[in-house]
Symmetry: C2
Subunit: 327 residues, 2 copies
């Protein structure tokens, strides 16, 4: 089966369903041709996922397809862009129809939800590698960047922090959990993250800086702080408040370990953003309107570096051991 057949069979749909008005030419020519709306800038991001490194090779293919696109859409969300389309470059050792059907199904379902059609790409034989490049648009000069945080700004996260890392601990066998529903929820948080596109777009003109959480709150926040030339103070209890269920399940851990764990864990794919205190009511209203939890977890300060305190106001060391070193 040739590469063109592969693309056509699994990655296009009857009558190119899912193509939006912005797609002038889709799959099948030398280039895809997109028509952004007048006056809009183009936002572009690209992430490469390698089997055995970024995902388990036996990951449910529908979830893998979802996640490969979701992590890219999350970058569009972080800059406040509206999706236009994406390209997929896919290397596979073997072509298995059932796997491809589920993989493309998971990917195209998420694409459809966000009006982000697949417009081109490449497939080849090789070690399993998934590279998506995603394109979005946003009004000129309105991109949310990492460099806009100012001392006095509040620091926020969307969704829950730490759940994806807990899901990874379950899949790795670092942790066992009797509560099947919670276990399923945590694994889904790892394998099927929700890109916060609507939230990112609504935060244009409100947030002073934003990025998405992929490598863990602590490390990712460092990028905002470095780009903005500021420091941050984090309320550890507010971070834990994003996921009461997780911390109840890990109640045997001291609070400081819970906080350090939440700040270290990756794969959250939530938005981390800053905004002036005057925006608190507007941000709460946006979260409520979108039914997306938004939690204020600290504030931006002059200087540099991150300080974290627990419920007693005591500083939290950030190098506390995680599952693999703790019972």
């Amino acid at each position: 089966m040739g590469e063109f057949d592969l693309i056509e069979r699994f990655f296009t749909r009857p009558a190119q369903a899912g193509y939006t008005a912005a797609v002038a030419v889709g799959i099948g020519d030398d280039c895809a041709i997109l028509q952004p709306s007048p006056g809009m800038q183009l936002a572009i991001s690209s992430d490469m996922l390698v089997a055995g490194r970024h995902f388990f090779t036996d990951t449910d293919p529908a979830r893998l397809g979802h996640k490969a696109l979701a992590v890219n859409l999350s970058d569009l969300a972080a800059c406040g862009a509206e999706p236009l389309g994406f390209t997929l470059a896919l290397a596979l050792e073997t072509i298995e129809a059932r796997w491809l059907q589920a993989f493309s199904g998971g990917m195209l379902a998420l694409a459809g939800q966000h009006h982000c059609p697949l417009v081109g790409g490449d497939t080849t034989k090789g070690p399993m590698t998934i590279n998506i490049t995603v394109f979005g648009q946003l009004p000129q000069g309105q991109a949310l960047l990492r460099s806009g945080a100012r001392p006095g700004d509040d620091l926020y996260v969307s969704g829950t922090i730490g759940e994806a890392r807990a899901g990874l601990a379950l899949l790795r066998g670092e942790w066992t959990l009797a509560d099947a529903a919670l276990r399923q929820h945590l694994c889904q948080r790892l394998e099927a993250p929700t890109p916060r596109l609507a939230l990112g777009q609504r935060l244009r003109g409100i947030a002073s800086a934003a990025m998405d959480l992929s490598d863990g709150l602590r490390g990712d926040l460092g990028h905002i702080l470095k780009a903005s030339g500021v420091g941050a103070h984090i309320d550890g209890v507010a971070v834990l408040a994003t996921s009461p269920a997780l911390w109840q399940a890990l109640a045997a851990w001291p609070a400081q370990r819970q906080i350090a764990f939440a700040l270290a864990g990756g794969d959250d794919y939530e938005l981390l953003f800053t905004a002036a205190p005057a925006e608190r009511a507007a941000i709460a209203a946006i979260g409520a309107a979108l039914a997306v939890p938004v939690q204020r977890i600290g504030r931006i300060v002059a200087g540099h570096g991150i300080t974290v305190v627990d419920g007693d106001g005591q500083p939290v060391p950030l190098d506390l051991p995680s599952f693999d070193h703790f019972g």
Copy 2:
């Protein structure tokens, strides 16, 4: 060495040299932000190259960097687009400074020639895989597509046909060649193709259909014929006329074998295009102005399929053996 260090060390340059006015935000945020010119459409293409499949692992890294970008720029050329920028996703098993310096040097030199800056991407540990996605712009509705060929149109190629495949035969040891200068030229044609960007842009409004030659003239022409619903008649002698030096070196081959070889060989990365006979003078003038050889090799006919004739008007069978079956 972390992925961010890797990117910063080899793939950015002091003061982001090479960024054009179209780059509002380059490497270092969640997304790159590009500003296409008003009224322009966006052209996008993506190619994935896997070590051992698309290139020899011991390929000169500067040429590999050049080629990885060139094959993508060639797709922009084929639709008549002007480059805006590209993203690079790179998986490497090991990080070797000397290799990366040469690889990025070859890639960024070509990028600079075509004002096509690197604006983002991803690097990761994994089996060596190079995925570039390239973005260009062109006036609305003026993209050169595969679907516009009409019976009576002339069929053209730029540059030389078959030389890249001959270079591959030399590298594979299928063929030996005493002429060192010719050998070097043929290998360079394989390893460092020249994307025909200026030609593609000048052909907007003149060519009726176009694509770039990657898999071999015969197979690639099939895509134009299928998309346009037409057939083609090829003058084999005109194809050979694109590279007198090669066919002189292969003078022991019967002409029909030479013709079949030229039509089967891949990696030419030249433009294949069609145009009405009324455009002959305009096309000759463009080729002369750009110093790019442009050869008329046949014509589009009603019906379907490809017929090829030799200098005696005899049909050429297209399944004649290549180097590996011929002394």
